[in-house]
């Protein structure tokens, strides 16, 4: 086994140049909570690992156009301590805070959760529901990519060689908006989602839902947006009939696998239940009386 080279540049350009110039397998490293486990299991054998944690842009949270730009290597614990982000996008923050235990929280990042491309990554459905956009830097410059276009299959991303996610923009949102993320796991802690559901919605002055986004995780090869589920909410007061339609649409969109954590039928059923509960929490956060 060849030894792995470790570099910790302090600029985006430096990281991109190193990753683009690596001869064999190259990997970005943020918190390492996925990467080092994969390295120990010999699932990966990179020739070069580029630590992104020393790059200021990847470590900061900044207000931008009424929303927040969150550095890709910001840890879950740091995000959870930021009152502004928590007030604007509580569902995204609660999803990130579900990742692992105390010590994992201290290291695991939003960018790592996104780029690890697990179909069960907890922050991803919440970010998709939030219409988050990733800023990607690479040898060819910078591009803005909706988060749902980063993963293209389990463990695979659309990032080209040398590209890294620099930050994620959680956008501004209208008044009377709320979001929520719920997941179901067989144990109460430290397990992988069987189903995850993120909902973001806006209510008008009379309490009618004027816009919604619903995203599901762990029920297909990719976390996905479910427009039919969102459509079931728009124009309603989230009455029982609308919630039934939401649940049916969420269940109908699932293309899950069977595994030891849950059967297909079970995941399909739970997806509907979670989408409905997440919608009610989001509506409450949006000020529904």
């Amino acid at each position: 086994m060849n030894d792995m080279r470790y570099e910790a540049p302090d600029t985006i350009d430096g990281a991109v140049a190193l990753l683009a110039g690596g001869r064999g397998e190259v990997r970005a490293l943020a918190g390492g909570t996925d990467l080092l486990v994969q390295l120990r299991a010999e699932m990966i054998a990179p020739e070069l690992v580029v630590d992104l944690k020393r790059i200021p842009e990847l470590r900061s949270i900044a207000a931008e156009d009424g929303g927040f730009r969150v550095g890709a290597a910001v840890s879950g614990a740091e995000l959870g301590e930021h009152p502004g982000v928590k007030a604007l996008w509580p569902g995204v923050v609660e999803a990130v805070e579900l990742i692992g235990s105390t010590q994992i929280q201290g290291r695991a990042s939003l960018g790592g959760n996104l780029c690890n491309a697990s179909p069960a990554a907890d922050s991803v459905p919440a970010m998709i529901a939030a219409r988050a956009v990733a800023r990607v830097a690479g040898p060819a410059g910078t591009r803005e990519v909706p988060v749902e276009e980063i993963a293209i299959g389990p463990g695979k991303t659309s990032l080209a060689k040398g590209e890294i996610v620099v930050s994620v923009l959680l956008p501004a949102r209208p008044a009377r908006s709320g979001d929520a993320y719920l997941r179901f796991i067989p144990r109460t802690e430290m397990d992988i989602a069987v189903v995850g559901a993120g909902v973001s919605l806006t209510l008008d002055e009379s309490g009618v839902c004027s816009a919604a986004r619903v995203a599901l995780g762990a029920v297909a090869a990719l976390a996905m947006l479910v427009p039919e589920a969102a459509a079931a909410l728009v124009g309603t007061t989230l009455d029982e009939a609308a919630l039934e339609r939401l649940a049916a649409a969420a269940s109908g969109a699932c293309r899950p696998i069977d595994d030891k954590r849950g059967t297909k039928e079970y995941r399909i059923k739970v997806a509907g239940v979670l989408a409905r509960r997440a919608a009610l929490i989001a509506a409450e956060r949006a000020g529904r009386s």
Binding site: D3, R5, Y6, G32, T33, D51, S101, T102, Q103
Partner: protein, 155 residues
């Protein structure tokens, strides 16, 4: 091979490591500080928890080279002048261990908890220890030991 230097339990420590060497391997195999345990290969068990710059981390989720220049404290660094740290004394007093495999990580996590939150509730203690797995005790006496230290009546 890269070289790395850091402060471990107040003393400077340096060595040549492979790029892929984990901090826990550096501590155990290079420095022979075998109090820090390895209980899994998936970063789940928490037996390897140490403090890096005052914060608890799983030393299997960090490369040794990532700890360059850091202040590291392991379980061996807690006792002062032959006196157990109050948390160690409380674990002993309240039977917070049986086989002891998880104990170094438990104690290091618990010390960080009280540094962060001096008077945690029972729920906060249990939540904090989510990433520290114990096969023996059922956690009850571990929680009691931590509560005792928080109430100033350690060992």
């Amino acid at each position: 091979m890269p070289t790395v230097s850091m402060t471990v339990n107040g003393r400077s420590a340096a060595g040549e490591v492979e790029g892929r060497t984990l901090l826990v391997e550096f501590l155990r195999e290079h420095l022979r500080l075998t109090g820090t345990h390895v209980g899994c290969d998936t970063s789940q068990c928490g037996a390897c928890v140490v403090h890096v710059n005052g914060k608890s981390v799983k030393s299997c989720t960090l490369l040794a080279v990532q700890a360059e220049g850091a202040e590291v404290t392991t379980i061996e660094g807690l006792a002062q002048n032959g006196e157990l740290h109050p948390m160690q004394a409380a674990f002993k007093e309240h039977h917070g261990l049986q086989c002891g495999f998880c104990t170094p990580g438990m104690v290091m996590s618990a010390v960080d908890l009280l540094n962060t939150n001096a008077h945690p509730s029972e729920t906060e203690i249990r939540d904090w220890l989510e990433g520290n797995i114990c096969r023996c005790t059922g956690y009850h006496n571990i929680v009691k030991a931590i509560q005792a230290v928080a109430q100033g009546q350690g060992g």
